[in-house]
Each structure stands twice: as C-alpha cells, then as structure tokens.
Amino acid sequence: MNDVVARLVAPYLERSLGQPFIVDNRPVASGIVGTDATAKAPPDGYTLLMVASSFTVVPATNPKLPYDPERDLGPIIMVAKNSLLFLVNPKVPANSLAEFVTLAKANPGKLNYASPGAATQTHLVVELFSQKAGIKLQHIPYRGGAPAMTAMVAGDTQFTAISRCCRCRRSRPARYARSRAEASAAMRSCPISLPSRNKAFPASRQSNGSAC
C-alpha cells in the first residue's frame, strides 16, 4: 500500500515542489528497513518516508528497533486514510458486528481469526477490538495477508480484518474466487473504522464507528 500511495503522490509532489521524486520501495520487515534507512539518511530534506500504520504498531511490540519513531523522524503530513474491513466467512452465523460479539461471548476462545502474522496491525486491531468488546478470540497467524485471507475464505478461520482495500479488490477475483458473485459468497464485510461506504467494497454495510 505504501508503494502504491507513494507512486500516486509522487507526480503531484513533483508538480508542486518542482523537484523530481524517486520511489524506493523497501517492503521487508514491516517497514523497519525503509524507516531505518530514512532515519539514518542525511537530514537535508531530500529523503522522505511514506509509512503506514505499522509505523506505530511495530514499536509497540518491538522495543529493540534501530531507530526511535518520534526522535529520529519528523512528521510532515498524513497523506491518506484507509478503512478497516472486518471480514467473516459466510458460514459464521453473524450478520453484524453486534451479532458477532454476541456469538463470541457465547463461545469464548472458540472463534478464531487469521492475521498476516504475529504482532501485525491486524493482530493488534483485533486484540483491541476483543478488549473493548469483552470477548476472547483465538489468533491464527499466517505468513502474509494473502494466506490469511485464503484461510478465512476456505473456512479454516472464521474471520479476519484487513485494511489493504485496493490490493484485496484487485486480487479478489483471481486469488480468492473465480467471479464477483463467487467472491460475494466467499466473504462478508462489516466496515468498522470509517463512517462512509468504501468504494473498494460498494456492497459493504456502513458503520457509525462505534461498533464495539
């Protein structure tokens, strides 16, 4: 997502600043490598960093980072916001977050969710959701977002939460289902972080942001 947003923004920054921009994608280690490279770059204003929410998630679970996110980098602007989608396998007997919470309270520790890995944004978001809702859910970490989504669609896990809408939208027919209709049957979405309908999932329901 960072790479997509950076490449979208770069031409407009070039236009408004009159400087060429080169996007150098360093996607490994939850952004630690790219963030560290920027933190250690000459402070001449010619090296900028585009980060996602992992910028604040990673320090919360990793006290041994090679940089200090507040001391070594200066904030400029929040570029864009992305909704978080709560996706359940259609076999789960819950048609809303409220119904899901009721189901989870009746079955403590029995509902499991897929994440792209331990200590990722999805992991922390669902744990926060669990804490606020007073429910106990089982975490199943996978090696990346695509395997996590595949596991949820296959029914190996009951749900997941994702924020990479554009990647999911593009890859959904090819990776998770053969058609739009099949994709609709393979997952159900409940947006939980934005009050407006998301264009990446036009059939999804709205939330008022107080789903817990």
Binding site: V5, L13, I76, I77, K81, C166, S196, F201
Partner: protein, 54 residues
C-alpha cells in the same frame, strides 16, 4: 507546503478514491499528535494482550 497542496488536487483525490482511500491532510503538529497517540494506544494494547514481535 507542497505536500498539502498536492493532497488538495482533485485528480489525486479521485485516484485515491479508486483505491478505496480518502485524502487526509493537517499540520505536522496534528500528525505528530496522531503518531504519539497511536504509539501509546498500541503499546497499551500489546501489553494487555502480551503481544511481542518474534
């Protein structure tokens, strides 16, 4: 600042929308406050759930 000017460009806003994104904005101070708040919240969440990077 060029970044805030760029984020007001209707063409860029439309491209964001195609990706399911909405343009944000604000001042560096706003962004710093968001970062500090998120760091605090995620640290508390991770501590309560005993989550550490492996």
């Amino acid at each position: 600042m060029g970044s805030s000017i760029a984020l007001r460009d209707p063409e860029l806003i439309a491209k964001f929308a195609q990706q399911g994104l909405s343009a944000a904005g604000g001042t560096p101070a706003d962004f710093q406050h968001t970062i500090a708040t998120d760091l605090k919240n995620w640290t508390e969440t991770a501590r309560a759930a005993n989550i550490t990077a492996q």
